[in-house]
């Protein structure tokens, strides 16, 4: 209903016929394997992790960005963006986040900064869905302010040992490996950061799941390390630059997912408004709601144009920091606004746990927070103009 031609036609310099075939395939997987369970998984506060990851791996959801040598079908960033868009329609942002944290964070960091040996160890099984990845940057006292990270890594013998705590880590409690940002030179602040990989079950590594407002199917946790042996990922002291580089893909992925989720939420709200009658006619027939739906669909279309613009820049290999920050901020805010209006049109039912719209509402609220808050995005945009 709300979908615009921007989504498919014209191809906007991004999408080919093969991409559209891929989109149809992923959509089939999402509608057949994920979406039907959204309700049940939400109640359970989780999903059959291993089974879903393996199935997703089997149909190729994790390999679009990666070369054949690692079991992938790429490298094709546009194909990967399509997977993100379609998975976001699964009706459970927690499941989408789990798959995304693996696809666009854990495995992506390994691909970007790992040695061939490290890629063989973690990336290849990630593509097949056998291994699950995560990235841990945030700490109880350091979010977007990456320079304040206090987790320490120190040399011990020929390797490294990790001490500290990470929090809000998607997939943290279920991951087979976690890429962790730690300070290797506390005097140097942001320039003293490095990335490491820690494996599940390593000595001194503990993970505790945290209950969340939304994204309730995702396993989000607090991780603690006490003398845990880890492997360096990339070069010592380059952690800050590595993180900033990877933020770009994380944020454009969040923008893509938000636009997609918003569109789905709006479609469902409209479907409800068509059925629900008040004062003798469907709610969707009242001009105020017709106009509000038109406004929301317009915002979604604008957010999509902006997001595709940032994606196009990334695909072309250009610096897209400013555009990605814009796309992430706008798309997340639009998704949240759409979800809130969708809740509103449901009236009292919107407030009841038995209707799925409350889940969309809780899930969408993370958008303006995760991956850097809207306020942080505005700082980045502002600074890009020389402030």
């Amino acid at each position: 209903v709300s979908a615009t031609r921007f989504a498919t036609l014209p191809k906007l310099g991004l999408f080919t016929e093969e991409h559209e075939a891929l989109r149809a395939g992923v959509r089939q997987f999402v509608e057949g394997v994920l979406a039907p369970h959204a309700e049940e998984w939400e109640r359970d506060g989780g999903f059959p992790v291993r089974d879903v990851f393996r199935q997703a791996g089997r149909v190729g959801l994790f390999g679009a960005k990666y070369e054949e040598a690692y079991g992938g079908t790429g490298p094709d960033l546009v194909a990967d963006a399509i997977v993100t868009e379609e998975v976001a329609r699964c009706g459970s942002a927690g499941v989408a986040a789990a798959l995304g944290a693996h696809k666009d964070l854990g495995s992506y960091y390994v691909h970007r900064w790992g040695t061939e040996q490290q890629m063989g160890k973690w990336l290849t099984p990630s593509v097949s869905g056998e291994a699950i990845g995560a990235v841990a940057i945030t700490e109880p006292d350091a979010g977007s302010d990456v320079a304040s990270i206090s987790t320490r890594a120190e040399r011990r013998g020929g390797g490294w040992e990790l001490r500290g705590t990470k929090t809000f880590i998607t997939n943290g409690p279920i991951a087979d490996y976690v890429v962790v940002a730690a300070s290797t030179d506390p005097e140097a602040g942001a320039h003293g950061l490095s990335l490491f990989v820690v494996e599940a079950g390593a000595p001194g590594f503990e993970a505790r799941r945290i209950e969340t407002l939304g994204w309730r199917t995702s396993h989000t946790g607090e991780l603690s390390f006490d003398g845990t042996p880890v492997e360096l990922l990339g070069r010592e002291g380059e952690g800050f630059a590595q993180i900033m580089t990877c933020f770009e893909w994380e944020r454009v992925s969040m923008a893509l997912a938000a636009v997609s989720a918003a569109e789905r939420t709006l479609d469902q709200a409209i479907a409800y408004a068509r059925e629900r009658e008040a004062f003798g006619r469907p709610v969707a027939r009242f001009q105020v709601w017709r106009h509000r739906f038109a406004d929301l669909a317009t915002d979604i279309a604008a957010a999509r144009s902006l997001t595709y613009h940032s994606l196009r820049k990334i695909v072309a290999g250009e610096n897209a920091g400013r555009e990605v920050s814009m796309a992430k901020a706008m798309s997340a805010e639009v998704d949240w606004r759409v979800a809130d209006e969708a809740l509103q049109v449901h009236g009292g039912y919107g407030y009841m746990m038995e209707y799925p719209v409350q889940r969309a509402w809780r899930d969408a609220r993370l958008g303006p927070i995760g991956g850097g808050t809207t306020e942080i995005m505005k700082e980045l945009i502002g600074r890009s103009y020389g402030f």
Binding site: P10, T298, E323, K378
Partner: protein, 382 residues
């Protein structure tokens, strides 16, 4: 730099050429033209000589054979005049009053009206709105009644850009009372015909340099050959015309607001308060970030819509969304620009005051925000 697929390097060359013309020959007069409430006719001729009035038109009528990318570039660069009325008048000439002639006109009409308009020798206006009918086109009262081989037209047209100086008007009139939406037709009416008069020129809130008029048609007799397109298809023809009008209007306004954003950024770097340049304040930094985001979204949406059209789509819903989004975004941005200028922005001759006045029209002209929402809602099946 990766270009939007709407554009090639050639479009960027055109952009620089238009920009150089605008900045050297038009912008220096902006303040005077604003005060006079008019700009001279030579602007049309000059633009025509350079080929800028026929960018999308076929060479056989003197056009450049270009595409939507060229038209968007033109709309964007005209925003640099710094007086919205000039760009609007030129857009009416090249992208609003004349496209129906190319699309629906006879060979003779194209030779007599389109070709001289492309050369800048004849000035065109478009007559849809009436004192009692705006977007509610079905309420149009102007009538054309057949009399032998001729038509007799009676009625009045309101808010007509270029109305005072136009050589001809492409107008819509009711040709068949009971037929509803099928009862309208388009005509090309020479403004020197007996019974055609400019009843008054209108003072406006903004767009001061454009002449806007109310036209009266009192028993104007036009030949049968003045009928443009199919009899009874006037409503459909006008709906088609409005799509291009909305697209070009949005493109120009977004470009104007982008210029205002850039100039305001420079101002904020210079202007000091409480011991530092005001751009050092976080609240303003975030305001600029919001403006930039609004503008980039509107700009990319403009390009996406234009590309869809260029590739053969007829994206009515998307154009309406664009017009709605751009209108709101541009007005948010320009109001923030005025705010950042403080008292200096509130003086009548301040460029930002001019831009602020001019921007407000986008939410009204070519269909209000509310009408756009209606179109979008209908297209969504609501």
């Amino acid at each position: 730099v990766v270009l939007h697929p709407l554009f090639t390097e050639e479009h960027e060359e055109l952009r620089l050429a238009i920009r150089s013309l605008v900045e050297s020959e038009l912008t220096p007069h902006a303040v005077d033209w604003e005060r006079e409430g008019y700009f001279p006719d030579w602007v049309f001729k000059r633009m025509g000589d350079l080929g800028y009035l026929g960018l999308r038109y076929p060479p056989e009528y003197g056009g450049q054979g270009g595409d939507w990318g060229h038209a968007i570039v033109m709309a964007e660069e005209m925003a640099r005049v710094g007086s919205g009325g000039v760009g609007m008048a030129i857009a009416v000439q090249a992208e609003m009053a004349t496209p129906p002639i190319l699309r629906f006109g006879t060979e003779d009409q194209k030779r007599r009206y389109l070709a001289p308009a492309i050369r800048g020798e004849k000035i065109a206006c478009l007559g849809i709105t009436e004192p009692g009918a705006g977007s509610d086109v079905a309420s149009i009262q102007t009538s054309a009644v057949r009399d032998g081989d001729e038509w007799v037209i009676n009625g009045s047209k309101m808010f007509i850009t270029n109305g005072k100086r136009a050589d001809y008007c492409v107008l819509v009139a009711r040709t068949d009372k009971p037929a509803g939406y099928e009862g309208f037709s388009l005509f090309i009416v020479d403004t020197d015909l007996p019974g055609f008069s400019v009843s008054r020129t209108l003072e406006k809130l903004g767009m001061h340099s454009s002449d806007t008029a109310e036209l009266t048609l009192d028993g104007v007799r036009v030949p049968g050959a003045a009928l443009l397109g199919e009899e009874g298809k006037g409503f459909e023809h006008i709906m088609w015309e409005l799509q291009g009008e909305r697209l070009v209007g949005a493109a120009g306004s977004v470009a104007g607001a982008t210029l205002a954003f850039e100039k305001t950024l420079e101002y904020a770097k210079e202007r000091r308060a409480f011991g530092r340049p005001i751009w050092k304040f976080q609240a303003l930094r975030h305001r600029f970030a919001e403006m930039a985001t609004d503008l980039e979204a509107a700009r990319q949406m403009t390009y996406d819509v234009a590309l869809a059209w260029e590739r053969g789509e007829y994206p009515v819903k998307e154009i309406s969304m664009l017009k709605l989004y751009a209108g709101l975004a541009v007005n948010r941005v320009i109001d923030a620009c005025l705010q950042i200028h403080g008292g200096a922005g509130y003086t009548a001759d301040a460029w930002v005051a001019r831009a602020w006045r001019d921007a407000r029209l986008l939410r009204i002209g070519a269909g209000t925000d509310e009408v756009m929402r209606e179109v979008v809602a209908k297209a969504m099946g609501l």
